[in-house]
Amino acid sequence: MSWAGPEDIFLSTSLASYLDRKILVLLRDGRKLMGTLRSFDQFANAVLEGACERVIVGEQYCDIPLGLYVIRGENVVLIGDLDTEREELPPHMIRVSETEIKRAQKVEREASELMGTMRKRMEFLDFD
């Protein structure tokens, strides 16, 4: 973050306004972490207290507790301020256990891998 001049004081892209709040962090590998922002720096490195990973597969979701996390800034895509007044998830979603969601993730991953190989085969055959 740049040094704020006197006119920049209201313009600052600082994460300071998110300190001690519950936030959602999107990571480059697609993971979504939630927790309380305790610290940050100019690289968007962040310390998340009471972190949990929210895994969503279709209509199912699960929050896996992680504890205290230090996130390296280069992996951060987005940091979102969670509005506690609003619902975090669509109401029709079902909360499941960790084992259940891991199983669902595996099924989804295998399905997309299958789609990938099928597409590659079609491209190889070069259908017009």
């Binding site: 973050m1 600052s12 968007a44 940091i79 979102g80 509005d83 619902e87 975090e88 669509p90």
Partner: protein
């Protein structure tokens, strides 16, 4: 430096930021910094059903390195001014 100044002038406008992970977020440009990190207010995701985890996010900080495009309203840009600034930058830089 040019685009930092350019985005500073765009603060308050409604923009859509498209990220490298294909996420599209519409919101009001709150602030920008030298790394072109962006802070958006009053955000909502363009394809909400595809990204259910973002439902209650109203303000967000987007790391500059993950932005693919910043979509602007066509009348939000003074093209001639930008053109001149770019020419000046190219000459002086």
């Amino acid at each position: 430096m040019l685009f930092f100044s350019y985005f500073k002038d765009l603060v308050g406008q409604e923009v859509t930021v498209e990220l490298k992970n294909d996420l599209e977020i519409r919101g009001t440009l709150h602030s920008v910094d030298q790394y072109l990190n962006i802070k958006l207010e009053n955000t909502h995701v363009v394809d909400q059903d595809k990204f259910p985890h973002m439902l209650s996010v109203r303000n967000c900080f987007i790391r500059g390195s993950v932005v693919r495009y910043v979509q602007l309203p066509p009348d939000g840009v003074d093209v001639d001014l930008l053109h001149d600034a770019a020419r000046r930058e190219a000459r002086g830089g």
